[in-house]
Symmetry: C2
Subunit: 340 residues, 2 copies
């Protein structure tokens, strides 16, 4: 039976607190037979692109639902090509996206969880981003939770990231006024010049976030798309308008702390009748066909754009993942694994 | 023209931080003609009961929408009888409830804001409580925001208060499991023996609120009715179940601080997909007829009860109001002003 090399990114051991690059290991001596086990209902795929997402670092801790297994490859979203199928929904050479392993080849035993890629007239890596989980996150968190109206004031944190860049563009398409924040001047420029945000600022250069928000939103904020938490949320709460909505997608500023920061100003939730709604997009993929129907024409007509930061090769995946928490990525962080 | 005595409770001056009893003054030398000014479209009422509500203390600060005017009587909810009417909706001897003054007689220039009391077969003071603003608050905050289902786990803070005692009883009527917390053992007893809470505890006797909640809710909390904020909210967030709902009615533990406490564990909002919704019941009185239709039969059939703590006379109103923040009241704090 043909055996091929199968480089893997392994979790060395459960992580206490925040992971480091060295908590992962590139295992270079693994091989895999290019054949499904007999009677398998799964599929064997060749991984093409892998997605770096902040939640992956949470799953390196022990005892969470979905925690990784030390010694085994990280699992996350990716784009892959079917090498062999034991499942009637898939055939050789189909392109799919969904949960796969951080390795060159993966046997997926529950292929029902995968999406078959229909439209290949776009970059395949988009299925880790605008056409995948981050895209759905922006779509659901902005349209479904925030129910935006034309003319409303929208604020996006981590605005140049995988999700934020889309929220900003969706908001502009809705006729909102949009301000984004990011952590480098390069990203701030990108927000204004590439993604069409009305304004943007570098939060690291602001002494007083409340004052910054008052400058950019003299009328206050109707919709806040929350990606960071902590002090930014504290300042945002002071600047929300009556009947404002906060879509709580992530709190990346808090994930690498032993104990979360306390957030003040929660009484604004009462005074301003705020809606604060957390979500995990895995619950909402029933809306995925609706989203594709909306977004694919926008991509093809160039009414929306998407920036990716592509790390080249599995060996660079650990650094790319940790880099998310250091703000190193510009746009969606992807790992290129192999050509088709 | 007949002039009568009109004792008034006056705000002496704007308050910085938390008010004291001495920030209010009983003005005993005021009088009022028992006659409306000519061409008035308002009504002249005799005040019978006044409602002590925490929000009143907020309005003693300068610069808020609805801030009181120093030198003038406090305004708040009350039950009153019409002495003379210049408005076609009202006639002499009608009983009304709504915004009135902390004084013996008040001229109400916008009587459209008042509710005419139709059902007088219940204690009139109930219109400051179960049949008034706190009742609507419990109804809207529990049924409309939390959408409770039979068998769900409900936690209520400030549970023996004007609103909490009703939320607990509504939850039992819905078939939920309900635990309440209060700040004295007397109140805790009342929750269990009088209001039918399944369990109750004195938060002042718990070293570790998280541990207490884990003891009372081994399965976690589906619905939290938030009246207090701060450390209790921080512990509740750790104990919410997936898809839980938090109705944010008040944060009384935070109102008397110069700066709010920071609240940790907000990332639970994401992980547990929580809905957190603040509200101010003044926005939702369109549902008042529905509420009365539901609650009046419950009162008459003794399927629900309501405890009031009645201060006797305007001169005791300032202490009664401040007492809310010291947990002195057992049940809804009312001020009796005069017989009909």
């Amino acid at each position: 039976m043909e055996e091929v090399r199968n480089h893997q990114v392994i979790l060395k051991d459960y992580v206490n607190g925040f992971p480091k690059e060295s908590d992962m290991l590139l295992k270079t001596f693994a091989t895999i037979p290019l054949k499904l086990p007999q009677d398998s209902n799964g599929i064997l795929v060749k991984n093409l692109y892998l997605s770096c997402d902040p939640y992956l670092c949470l799953l390196m801790s022990k005892g969470l639902v979905g925690s990784f297994t030390p010694g085994s490859p990280i699992t996350g979203f990716g784009v892959a090509k079917v090498v062999e199928s034991g499942h009637s929904n898939f055939k050789k050479d189909d392109l799919v996206w969904g949960l796969t392993g951080w390795e060159e080849y993966t046997i997926i035993t529950t292929p029902e969880t995968l999406f078959k890629i229909q439209d290949t007239d776009v970059p395949l890596s988009y299925y880790t981003g605008i056409l995948g989980m981050p895209g759905m996150t922006a779509y659901y968190g902005f349209y479904e939770i925030c129910a935006p109206k034309k003319g409303e004031y929208v604020f996006v944190s981590a605005a140049s990231g995988a999700v934020g860049q889309l929220v900003g563009q969706f908001a502009k398409l809705t006729g909102c006024y949009v301000v984004g924040t990011a952590g480098t001047n390069e990203k701030v420029e990108l927000l204004k010049t590439k993604f069409g945000f009305d304004e943007a600022f570098n939060y690291k250069e602001e002494q007083d976030l409340d004052a910054a928000l008052k400058r950019y939103f003299p009328e206050g904020i109707d919709i806040y798309f929350e990606n960071v938490g902590g002090k930014m949320l504290e300042a945002v709460l002071l600047n929300m308008r009556v009947n404002g909505r906060i879509s709580v997608c992530g709190m990346i500023s808090q994930y690498n702390l032993n104990q979360e920061q306390g957030v003040r100003n929660l009484s604004s939730i009462i005074m301003k009748r705020l809606l604060v709604k957390g979500f995990i997009i895995f619950d909402n993929f029933d809306l995925y066909p609706n989203y594709l129907e909306m977004v694919i024409p926008l991509i093809k007509e160039e009414k929306i754009c998407y920036i990716e930061d592509v790390a080249n090769g599995l060996e660079n995946a650990p650094a790319a993942l940790i880099g998310l928490f250091l703000g190193k990525n510009v746009g969606k962080q992807v790992v290129f694994v192999a050509r088709e």
